[in-house]
Symmetry: C2
Subunit: 344 residues, 2 copies
């Protein structure tokens, strides 16, 4: 079989501080053979959609001590979760033409040696791109983080930061389904409007227009906050802690604003953990893979019933991928950021 070219995004150099498009490079290489060799259990996929996620910044720095995900390597292709079509399979669980989601490369074609890491798409009647977000890890992050970590009760006061992002928009809607009062913060009036009109948040504010975060939280939560679903770090946490109610819960699912800081801002109000008996828990979605199937069915039902709506920010083509990734850290995206790599 003739070789074909493979457009791909590689890491150019390890990143320190704020990342830029120049830290990546879009190159054309030779694609892997588009048919798996006889006897192999690998699959070859055509990448349809790839996900841009904040945690990728973490992987662009070299860590002396191995962390929860491996670092990227300069010169090598970036990897992340995506939606793919199987074009050749040596594995009994997959056949040519199957739609799958899982870890893949930021490139057109990827040879996947361990297809056990891939999942079949059980609801192809939904937009396939949803399997980079609401139906995949961001969705499971929201679902497990909210229900398992935050343990919400009807009537709880819920505050969601970065609320229009991939995770925040879903958390807010799950909170409404649960009967909570939900306020979100976001970084532009457009996003705030989205929260209130499209996602059904009870209220929302633009944190960039609010110099006194403590005052704004007291205004939106005169009774205090029961649940803080924390998508950003540092300063916000310090403003939230004094506004937490007794036995409140803080789920820390990521700290976007801190990814790029060599010296993160110090949190000074942790004393409230004691006086208010707060529980603050960090979690990673990897710990909740076991509940994926239950989540998948429930979320598919919510989407079809219109109980959850979902907004994506899709850029076209791998050449636009580096800018889309960087845009996550400046808040450029409106909704879940992803890249459409190829047509089916």
């Amino acid at each position: 079989m003739a070789t074909v070219s493979n457009r791909r995004v590689i890491l150019k150099r390890y990143v320190t501080g704020f990342p830029s498009e120049d830290d990546m490079e879009v190159v054309t290489a030779e694609a892997p053979p588009l048919a798996v060799p006889t006897g192999s259990s690998a699959v070859v996929v055509k990448n349809l959609y790839i996900s841009c996620d904040p945690y990728m910044r973490h992987r662009m720095t070299r860590h002396e001590v191995p962390n929860y995900v491996p670092d990227y390597v300069p010169g090598e292709v970036l990897t992340n979760y995506g939606v793919m079509k199987v074009i050749s399979s040596g594995h009994a669980d997959f056949k040519t033409g199957d739609f799958v989601w899982g870890l893949t490369g930021w490139e057109e074609y990827t040879l996947i040696d361990h297809p056990e890491t891939l999942s079949k798409i059980n609801h192809p009647e939904l937009p396939l791109s949803y399997y980079t977000g609401v139906m995949a890890l961001p969705g499971l992050t929201s679902y497990a983080g909210f229900f398992e970590v935050c343990k919400p009760k009807k009537g709880d006061y819920v505050f969601v930061s970065a609320a229009s992002g991939a995770v925040g928009q879903i958390v807010g809607q799950l909170a409404k389904i649960t009967g909570c009062y939900v306020v979100g913060s976001a970084g532009s009036d457009e996003k705030v409007n989205l929260l209130k009109t499209k996602f059904g948040f009870d209220d929302a504010f633009n944190y960039k227009k609010e110099p006194d975060l403590d005052a704004v939280l007291k205004r939106y939560f005169p009774e205090g906050i029961d649940i803080y679903f924390k998508n950003v770090g540092g300063v916000t946490l310090d403003a939230v802690l004094p506004n937490m109610r007794l036995c409140g819960r803080i789920a820390a699912c990521g700290m976007i604003s801190q990814y790029n800081l060599e010296q993160p801002e110090g949190v000074r109000n942790l004393f409230y953990l004691v006086t208010r008996r707060l529980r603050m828990e960090g979690f990673l979605v990897f710990d909740y893979y076991g509940m994926y199937r239950r989540f998948e069915e429930e979320m598919a039902r919510y989407l079809k019933e219109g109980k959850i709506v979902y907004v994506e920010d899709i850029v076209e083509g791998l050449d636009a991928a580096p800018a889309a990734l960087i845009g996550l850290f400046t808040g450029r995206n409106v909704g879940k950021q992803l890249v459409a790599v190829s047509q089916e």
Copy 2:
């Protein structure tokens, strides 16, 4: 009945920053009538031992927003937990001569209007003073904080700060009983020696001699820490966070070193909550009153069997009480600090 005099410790003024003996005053006032009036359900107690606890610093400052305990009032007697003898009772549950523990005044005689807040001493065969510490709230704090908040497993690596104090010494011994590996930190060689020779910690170090806390934690916990029982704040937490193991637990039972800081030190390493899936939980012993009786029996048994040993730092007389309280914040005490007010 003739009135008698009543030596008592009053708050002289609200405290800002580090407290001093001058913020209190020992005065002589008139005691309450030593017999309760007919028809009253109050009791009058003679105070035998009073407890000095770090949280009292918190009550010496005026808080605009009510907190978990009421503020002290200048000119009025300090209150805290103590061990008392009932000398007159209008309440069916108590009779003259009973030994009780509970909230009382820093004075010789106290009229207690609501004796429901008092508890009978069910193990008077132990030293009565133990009911200011290991048999009372510090003991219950250790027991509930370790077993309920930290949820220890045999073999867990446990780090205890302020380990020779009222709570730390008990937590360390409960951890040993559970089959954990326990290292404590304390602020003098004398205390470190106590931890290793008397309380049975596997190891201990003097944090004042260790400029690089991260390095010392890596030395004592090459495999990392599963449970951090946090008795002090700020800097220590930042050093501990990177040394926590996956799914580690941090119980925050108080932050002595922060009580006196107007602007507490910022904690910068909270990102580890996410990457290591840590749970950090603040708790107050008040939430665990319901398990007191179970705790009391278990702890009495440990003490009688010699499985837990207990060290107290007792000063004699109310005149020494202000200095004893201040000494908590400079680490002067060795073991649980209390004041012997009167003989039985």
